[in-house]
Point group: D3
Chain length 340, copies 6
Amino acid sequence: MGKLVTFGELMLRLEAPGRLRISQARSYDAVYGGGEANVAVSAANYGMEADFVTKLPENPVADAAIAELRGLGVGTSHIARGGARMGIYFVEHGASQRASSVIYDRAHSSISEAEAADFDWDLIFDGAERFHFTGITPALSPACASICEDACRAAKARGVIVSCDLNYRKKLWSTEEAGRVMSRLMKYVDICIANEEDADKVFGIRADDTDVKTGTISDEGYRQVCRRLTERFGFSTVAVTLRESVNADVNNWSAMMYRGGEFYKSKKYEIHIVDRVGGGDSFSGGLIYADHAGMEPQAALEFAVAASCLKHTIVGDYNRVTKKEVEALASGDGSGRVSR
Amino acid sequence: MGKLVTFGELMLRLEAPGRLRISQARSYDAVYGGGEANVAVSAANYGMEADFVTKLPENPVADAAIAELRGLGVGTSHIARGGARMGIYFVEHGASQRASSVIYDRAHSSISEAEAADFDWDLIFDGAERFHFTGITPALSPACASICEDACRAAKARGVIVSCDLNYRKKLWSTEEAGRVMSRLMKYVDICIANEEDADKVFGIRADDTDVKTGTISDEGYRQVCRRLTERFGFSTVAVTLRESVNADVNNWSAMMYRGGEFYKSKKYEIHIVDRVGGGDSFSGGLIYADHAGMEPQAALEFAVAASCLKHTIVGDYNRVTKKEVEALASGDGSGRVSR
Amino acid sequence: MGKLVTFGELMLRLEAPGRLRISQARSYDAVYGGGEANVAVSAANYGMEADFVTKLPENPVADAAIAELRGLGVGTSHIARGGARMGIYFVEHGASQRASSVIYDRAHSSISEAEAADFDWDLIFDGAERFHFTGITPALSPACASICEDACRAAKARGVIVSCDLNYRKKLWSTEEAGRVMSRLMKYVDICIANEEDADKVFGIRADDTDVKTGTISDEGYRQVCRRLTERFGFSTVAVTLRESVNADVNNWSAMMYRGGEFYKSKKYEIHIVDRVGGGDSFSGGLIYADHAGMEPQAALEFAVAASCLKHTIVGDYNRVTKKEVEALASGDGSGRVSR
Amino acid sequence: MGKLVTFGELMLRLEAPGRLRISQARSYDAVYGGGEANVAVSAANYGMEADFVTKLPENPVADAAIAELRGLGVGTSHIARGGARMGIYFVEHGASQRASSVIYDRAHSSISEAEAADFDWDLIFDGAERFHFTGITPALSPACASICEDACRAAKARGVIVSCDLNYRKKLWSTEEAGRVMSRLMKYVDICIANEEDADKVFGIRADDTDVKTGTISDEGYRQVCRRLTERFGFSTVAVTLRESVNADVNNWSAMMYRGGEFYKSKKYEIHIVDRVGGGDSFSGGLIYADHAGMEPQAALEFAVAASCLKHTIVGDYNRVTKKEVEALASGDGSGRVSR
Amino acid sequence: MGKLVTFGELMLRLEAPGRLRISQARSYDAVYGGGEANVAVSAANYGMEADFVTKLPENPVADAAIAELRGLGVGTSHIARGGARMGIYFVEHGASQRASSVIYDRAHSSISEAEAADFDWDLIFDGAERFHFTGITPALSPACASICEDACRAAKARGVIVSCDLNYRKKLWSTEEAGRVMSRLMKYVDICIANEEDADKVFGIRADDTDVKTGTISDEGYRQVCRRLTERFGFSTVAVTLRESVNADVNNWSAMMYRGGEFYKSKKYEIHIVDRVGGGDSFSGGLIYADHAGMEPQAALEFAVAASCLKHTIVGDYNRVTKKEVEALASGDGSGRVSR
Amino acid sequence: MGKLVTFGELMLRLEAPGRLRISQARSYDAVYGGGEANVAVSAANYGMEADFVTKLPENPVADAAIAELRGLGVGTSHIARGGARMGIYFVEHGASQRASSVIYDRAHSSISEAEAADFDWDLIFDGAERFHFTGITPALSPACASICEDACRAAKARGVIVSCDLNYRKKLWSTEEAGRVMSRLMKYVDICIANEEDADKVFGIRADDTDVKTGTISDEGYRQVCRRLTERFGFSTVAVTLRESVNADVNNWSAMMYRGGEFYKSKKYEIHIVDRVGGGDSFSGGLIYADHAGMEPQAALEFAVAASCLKHTIVGDYNRVTKKEVEALASGDGSGRVSR
């Protein structure tokens, strides 16, 4: 089975312990993660060969991040080293009516200041069958957008299947910039993954019947969005994750998928959240694996949603679950009975 | 905007970590708090000038308590120093059907043995527009009751608006003593804050239709209580917090208010509790601020309830939230979505 | 009041902190426990004299386990010392849809390699009125099964009431072995305790209308099981605990009992779980105490269920609650209000 | 071998973690201890039967303290329960040139307000051969001094050997009060233990050649002190511990003893300190055990000094070492080689 | 007594816990500090009014840093808010032969991108008698150098005494840049503080007899350096701290001072280090206070050295010691005896 | 450069936190290590390709151990999976005169019950230039001894250089067994590493002038031992580590080496110990690397000793230091100055 390559930023997450506010923190829990690294870890956990590509500074903080990825079975040999710093973000874990909050300190990171010459895509894609990136990577800098395009072009030239999670981040770019850059990249993309806001924010694609006040969309609305995305960009697959935020502790989670003119809808899980960071990425990772493994669309979607349901119970960005655990949940056992 | 003065005891809270019982604790988490200090912190967080008055011993434990308050923007220059000790209480955090429990070790504290000469109320009230105390302060000792009366008298003489949270504590005094002393103080009070039991315990005022078995009271019952309190003591405002304890982890929380012959009722929040100590105080702090800022009664009540809802998600006695956060919740966003 | 003797294995539980997976653990929380020790601690907490009998190696890990038991009021003077090691198990605490999981490392423990000569049952039962063991003990080794039988025989010879929690563990023996050995022991047993699976797995006794697909059993089904157990083995009492696993964080918990031809059914509690290990043992401990104290069947059952409900809120195997706390819950206060 | 009875206060020690100052502490490590309890634990560790007598309030903090003692093998059945509170002290661990510091909050403790009727000395001394107290106990209150005298009188009446560690604490009483009360008690004492200051502070007994400026005393000076103590009170044995404080991390530690007209001097240890609280008590505990076990004076002194040397490496007040470990050090192995 | 103003960067220090390497860290202890803030805290601790001036972003991390300073009694009302980020540095605590190491991530901090208009020096110096900065501040950016000069000029215009710790940092600028900028600033400086390398690195001033191989300098050599600094820049006082690094755990620490043509040399302390960050700043803080309080040169020097000796035993950048504690050490008590 | 293969046991080390005794531990710090894995990590850190071979059970504890090794750059693809358990040992960290102590629980581990068929040495040694094992591996079981011999034979057949650290462990086998088995293996060994006791315990080789009482050996004595080892077994190199245990916190550390008829002696380091486990292995790892890199004997010995000196400052078994750090120490910088 050919390998998966992902490309993006790897950050240091500093999180106030327990339910403390950042203003109360005397220490921070430190984990590493980032959309594309998270997807690579998911794939590696399920037994797929996976390579993560980024640029990181030459210091022990970055060394530790790389060692953890390598320990988790992700290939790290194409990570460029150099530049000034590793992106950081501070997290405060919400509770009940208090939302989690995030302070980004990612400007001037090594990857955001990387250059085309840092990556030899022909070498990187040797043996690859899949390439994945998110909308965060091209948003980091014009150079990153351009490198993303290099990667996409090289991928398509080799017949590598390209997936992209739109992942719009308003702190990184405007909707206009996002629309312009992402539209250019979409022509290389086979599988498009989005949440309920991304298609609107990035491409101005929304359902006719979107309730302006509440933002709620009907199932039919989501189908419209999927069809319109497919019409505009020619995706083979569009997948949409659906998060209902009851409060900071409880979310409902499901997804739908549009492929070959058919719509698929997953089970919905009520999740008591341990750590929701990386929830979307674990869906992408599950879907890429399931598709790669040749699962039928409905089964692939259920695998991806079950995988991301479990991610919400795992500390840290990476979805440290096995294929067997995902399959058990997808096939129905969510009772939480002790496995002795 | 004139400042708020609050007067009461500041204690060291020693809490068994996590869900451990006190009998299992090998360490205690240490925070500082007390009803009136909590109110002062709330007000300071919303941008009001606030001064907290108490008496504390001259030792590093008390120094740390004062430094924290000063760091949070509360004026501490009128805190008297001296006496034997700081009051302590041990807390064991409940879970599910197991209630939290508290062991008080507050006798002989510096404030409970304070004398009138420790406080110069004319100096303290310089520039003040509000004064707040709770029913705990006069319960500490006859001298404290008398000092409270001094403070109330000085406040009224300067036109300072006085608020009081009845806060009946059966470990500190009998209902008879409480009734006698508190009745004497009520003549200075403009805004009376209470929970469902206080009016009954302290003044023997209860609704006609109180269900003797379950203690539940109808809305009309609460209105009666408010009216009777107002009739007896001439309060301008009576506010009542309504806690429904589902279990030790989940409470419903709302409030009502009676002012100018009108009743106001707030939204009700289902709260997954992080730390409920200081919940009532954060209501008082929110109400005092909102009233001081000139909000309409319904808006003020919603602000106070939202503030105290958020307090239940904060570790420690102090309500470390901003005005903006309270307003966001009061105006409807309790979904707990990540604020990136 | 005569004392309770329990006999079984005492293990070291190593648990990944918080919600970390074992693969993420850099430290383990260490507690001690085991079915029969847990029952002894429960009884001691309620004021009953209790002795725990086992064999443990001579090293400081075992010393600490014994010192904790002694501190909790359990007699430890009949614990044999020697052999190679203390059984260990690693626990990973589940969350939401992710189940808790357990890795056993208990082979070759001192108790599993104990010999008959390690225990002088005449001496041990001096002053005893009750003897309790679980189906785990005879499963440890043929010698343990034989020692169990020695103990049962000695108990019956002295008129000691014998209780047994069937507690089938598939990692320790097959259903065939279990059936053979346990049937031999049942003739000494007065009070049989089981969960919904045990009677089926150990004795092949199941309700006629068990739903093959979902495993759900009707109330009438449980009654059948109780009657059949009683018919086959002549128990004076059969008690069955009923756990409904909503997810890894929330379980419903109740029990039923069959005695003197009458069926009793308890209240059902919705529990937000802190630590479910030892939940069944706390039921046994509560039932033994309540029966010993002469409570009526319904009251005894409610005491046992309330006790085990509270256990789910306690960290560690041992049910660190007082008789007063159990009685308060059994008689209706599960609101989790702060006890000040 | 008959048992040891000790009588005194048991306190909760709250210690700022690591090398943090109290003003920086956000949690406190909690241990229990007190001079006489520490001695009882030492004796129990070496295999002597030991009973600790005190009065403690009825709350879970005190329950935990008692459970720990019982777990360590100390008899706790004569501990009176009741009164208001358990004494507390806060500790800040020094480092290098910064001394450790202590804040006492022990006034109004249950033991300091105990009455004669709380203790039935005839019952308590049943089976006893030794009684030990320190100068702290009679300093707690006049009632405590009187109860101490009751105990001494009852002890002597039964032929129990009485030992006392003078342990002068200037925060509890003046040198005058100490001199008056302790002189009265000394007539019952057989073995007197002191450090370099106690004899001077309590009885005004000092060496002729004490260097007024530095407080250093020659060996001959110590001999004089021992002889004068013996002459005045008729002790059978006087033992003096000698601490040289290099800095907060390093102390030298040795002792001398005067018995039957002979002087004995121990080895001196250079100690890298982990926790020096209870260092003196572990000397008393070692000496009482060694004497009771019939060791020769020099051997007994070496045992006591080695025991207390080891105590300085143990976290908490209690000297958690075995007789074998003490003997190994006393007989020469202080190299700290790993014992595999 | 007029106030002290200090100006510089305030950073977040993230430190691997205990003796872990950064590559092993799963969490970081978080403290705040920076040369000039450290000096302000020292002064405030000794009772001097002190104001710290910097620029910090508007986020909760910076809020917490400011709250802590305010809690410690430092004025924070002139801190400009805005800009992108707070400087961060990662620390790994060395041990024995392994040196501590530091990773700086301070580029693009708010202060380094501050502009002249952020600070109104006339307002800031209202009531000031002292101004202090270190060589780090002008090294942050050309704008910072220029703002420093503005501050110095405004200070001199009001007769404020200016002190500067040269503090050369090779990661921030070259020796050439440092020499050029610092020479320009020196004309405003009255009191120059340096360590053994600074004068050489910044101004090329070194002793004639410096041993080229080992870098050791004789006392006479230091005197030469002091004289040459004074001759070139006309300082009223030059103070030099002398650190001898035995290993990462033990340092010897002393200082000398040149004033009015006289040389003063302090005692030397052998320090077992808890945290050496801020050691030099605590010397500056002590010297400024002592000078301001009118101590004689030798006494002032001893106060400053004792203060900085104690700092090495304190966790975090800030020297949390009282004047009384410094005086006790300066006057001779470094024995580390427990202060009860 | 060809790779290094090491073969042995990988264990879980459970260590009581800080300076707590095992009997006080409520949690254990968990690290992984073992003589041969430690050597592989050292080599990988210095840039050598390294493969570690063992057998481990299929569970998440072992998964985590393998992931960590892989993260550190050690090849893990030849680790056999299966068997019952991972060996465990409990550690209590000593202090001052109290020695560290260890409780082994390693019997029945997967590696000790491994069979020849678990390892395909021809495959494993593909590309290898070095093979290393310690005397612990053949001591685990007769099968392990036999597998070791298989490995040695395969290594020699391919011209792989074999090194062995004698590492006698009396808990695993008698001196007689050790002598018999190890003598058989020595014929394959090129480089023999030992401490002062091993040659005597395993082969009965000791210096003529060994002081019977103190065990001290002169330099000439060590030379004799080296010569006799070389004469008997034909080693190309014999290296001896020399540990002087001042106390549990401070050790002196040096080594000597005999090669080609010449003796080499290293510098001696006084080490303040953080964690001494793995100290000897870090010497072996340093020596193998240095020799492989072609350093001269004296330089290689200094590299190995400096590497192991640094190991004593690192938490955990693995020597997490870089080649550059070792070289800096070997070439003289042990001052512990902060590296900024």
